[in-house]
């Protein structure tokens, strides 16, 4: 049976969706957040629980092996992503640190998710689901020690759906700020939210089942028997919950809605940015979108290795200084041939050298 494993594929960002400044910025933000979380987690979990988060990371990998065939979609099975469950069971800070470790191992060992996109991935799949999910869970749950069963299930479910979808909604935002994607922002956002609502529902169902089981078998893990709760019972007060929840929600709502309004999609945005440029007169026979893209790329590309068709290049003042000057009329074409040939020759020499060294070593 072909199984489609949804969550990991659909959310790990690749390097190519980011520009260098955004990658650096998100890496820095993620690093700071994880550091804060690590410090707090270390204070909350005493020294006798040091291996906890690492081993729990391994647990999430294992739990992802337990698939659940989705009803109505034969051949498709969902599995746990894990961020929200961790946040519920271990608390948000330990959850964030564990998710960060998981994402780093996924990136390094399995090359899933880019090295530079790690910051984005930690924010999307670690920080947001953990904080938002945990906050929502606590909010719906009310007083932990004597929570009713239905409340706990509802809370877990809601936390998963909202946490996962909110994290996924950040992917198009990050890609749009980077200006890498050509897929319009709105379409991308719609697709991501749509797909991740389904994934979130599935994740919610599994989390719900796990909570139901733990409630029956080891209720102290959920903080139900307040006095000897080893992990989850040591929760901060209601105010902290509200603050973290509100903060994350506002941040998210602010960022996403700001983009949805001011940046309807990448193309329109670039069009409105440059519509009064001098270039407009030069290419009147083109549709506005075409014009915008043309301008946008001449502005942002330091070297253009193709010629614009139909557009009178001489009348585009912005493009002039960037074009490589050459006496050769067809320079760019021969340049690419030279590049390809040179690369092949270099690779040949290097391969020969490595082969020779290997033979000498044997």
């Amino acid at each position: 049976m072909t199984t489609l494993i949804l969550p990991p594929l659909a959310m790990h960002m690749a390097n190519e969706l980011l520009s260098v400044p955004i990658a650096g910025l998100t890496l820095a933000v993620a690093a700071i957040l994880v550091l804060i979380a690590a410090r707090r987690a270390r204070r909350a979990t005493t020294d006798d629980r040091l291996p906890l988060m690492g081993v729990m990371g391994a647990f999430i990998f294992a739990a992802q092996m337990i698939n659940f065939t989705l009803p109505g979609m034969p051949g498709t099975s969902g599995h746990l992503g894990g961020g929200v469950l961790l946040a519920i069971l271990l608390g948000p800070t330990a959850g964030i640190v564990t998710m960060a470790a998981i994402l780093m191992v996924q990136c390094l060992l399995f090359q899933d998710g880019g090295l530079l996109a790690l910051g984005c991935n930690v924010i999307n799949m670690g920080v947001i689901p953990c904080l938002l999910g945990w906050g929502l869970y606590r909010l719906v749950l009310g007083p932990v020690a004597k929570a009713a069963a239905w409340r706990q299930y509802l809370a877990a479910w809601l936390a998963c759906v909202v946490g996962v979808t909110a994290g996924a909604a950040m992917v198009p935002v990050e890609a749009a700020v980077s200006g890498v994607l050509q897929v319009p922002f709105r379409h991308f956002l719609g697709v991501m939210i749509g797909v991740h609502l389904v994934i979130g529902l599935c994740e919610g169902a599994i989390t719900f089942a796990v909570i139901a089981y733990l409630r029956r078998v080891r209720p102290e893990l959920l903080g139900l028997a307040a006095d000897d709760a080893p992990v989850a019972g040591r929760g901060p007060g209601y105010g902290v919950v509200m603050a973290s929840l509100l903060g994350t929600a506002l941040l998210l709502a602010g960022v996403v809605s700001w983009f949805a309004s001011t940046l309807p999609d990448g193309l329109e945005w670039s069009y409105s940015q440059h519509r009064y440029g001098a270039v407009e007169k030069a290419v009147q026979n083109k549709s506005p979108v075409v014009l915008a893209v043309d301008q946008w790329q001449t502005r942002w590309s330091p070297m253009t290795d193709y010629n614009r068709r139909g557009a009178p290049l001489g009348e585009l003042p912005a493009a002039e200084p960037n074009e490589p000057e050459s006496a050769w009329p067809n320079a760019s074409g021969w340049r690419s041939v030279a590049g390809v040939l040179g690369t092949i020759i270099t690779l040949g020499i290097l391969y020969g050298l490595s082969w020779w060294m290997r033979k000498k070593a044997v």
């Binding site: 594929l9 659909a10 690749a14 390097n15 190519e16 260098v20 994880v34 291996p51 988060m53 690492g54 081993v55 729990m56 990371g57 391994a58 990998f61 294992a62 739990a63 092996m65 337990i66 698939n67 659940f68 640190v97 564990t98 470790a101 998981i102 780093m104 390094l108 090359q111 090295l115 530079l116 994607l181 050509q182 897929v183 599994i206 719900f208 796990v210 139901a212 089981y213 733990l214 078998v217 080891r218 893990l221 075409v290 893209v293 590309s301 070297m303 253009t304 290795d305 193709y306 010629n307 068709r309 490589p324 067809n330 074409g333 590049g339 040179g342 690369t343 270099t346 690779l347 490595s354």
Partner: protein, 257 residues
């Protein structure tokens, strides 16, 4: 599953294996930064960027097919995105290759660009991971300033990942043998919850036992490593070479050709 599955080539010996893990980590990081800084239409400028990952793989005695297979396995999500871009950007561009001229839409250029960057990035990362044992990489991260806490969690994660995955696989097989696929949805969901819940509480106990075992062996809050990282002249030469190469790829090549 065992560590052999991911660490197959990392324990070998080659000029690349002998390099300091810090040098390799920095080189691959810089390579990735340079890689994604290329303009998205400049497909032909990416060609010289293939040299570094392939060289690392060859000199590290890692079969290229192994690395290429990793690229294929990981490609579905990126494939979806890059197949979407030709629909949105249909402005034709004249491309030339030698005396051969053809027209290609901007969307296809972007798609090719994303595909190449993705493949090269994964190849470089694979080359590093296949020539560096994970423990040494962790040590390198620690020396480069990653907090002890995080490095330790990564170490534990790496140590127990296959232990727990094997356990989960056993439980899953047992569940499937008992005909779980035929059960109604509610029962199936309960089974998944039970399995994961059991795994969770077992893991909690396991982490306590690990902690006890560590304490019994004299752990006092600071892990000691026997692995030695020595940054030698060869590493410096390697780093300088990589940086010169990257500068040439990024600035010299597109300008001077």
């Amino acid at each position: 599953m065992h560590h052999h599955f991911i660490d197959r080539f990392a324990m070998g010996d080659s000029p690349i294996h002998r390099l300091d893990a810090r040098a390799k980590l920095l080189a691959v990081l810089t390579y990735t930064v340079v890689l994604i800084s290329f303009n998205r239409y400049a497909v032909s400028d990416l060609v010289p960027m293939t040299v570094l990952p392939l060289t690392l793989l060859w000199f590290g005695r890692v079969p290229v097919w192994f690395a290429l297979r990793r690229v294929l396995i990981l490609s579905p999500f990126i494939l979806m995105l890059l197949l979407m871009s030709p629909f949105y950007d249909r402005i034709p561009h004249d491309a030339t290759f030698g005396s051969w001229r053809f027209t290609i839409s901007g969307g296809w250029l972007t798609a090719m660009d994303i595909a190449m960057k993705f493949a090269l990035g994964v190849l470089a990362l694979t080359a590093m991971m296949c020539t560096t044992p994970f423990a040494l990489l962790l040590e390198a991260m620690r020396r480069l300033g990653m907090p002890q806490m995080i490095v330790m969690q990564l170490g534990f994660l790496y140590r127990y990942i296959f232990v727990l995955i094997d356990e989960a696989m056993r439980v899953r097989r047992a569940r499937d043998f008992r005909g779980a696929a035929l059960a109604p949805i509610g029962r199936r969901l309960a089974a998944v919850g039970g399995v994961i819940g059991t795994l969770f509480s077992r893991t909690l106990d396991r982490s306590e036992r690990v902690q006890l075992a560590m304490a019994a062996r004299g752990y006092q809050g600071e892990p000691r490593s026997l692995s030695q990282l020595r940054f030698t002249g060869a590493d410096a030469v390697f780093l300088v070479l990589v940086i010169v190469y990257l500068l040439a790829c990024r600035w010299a090549y597109p300008r001077w050709f």
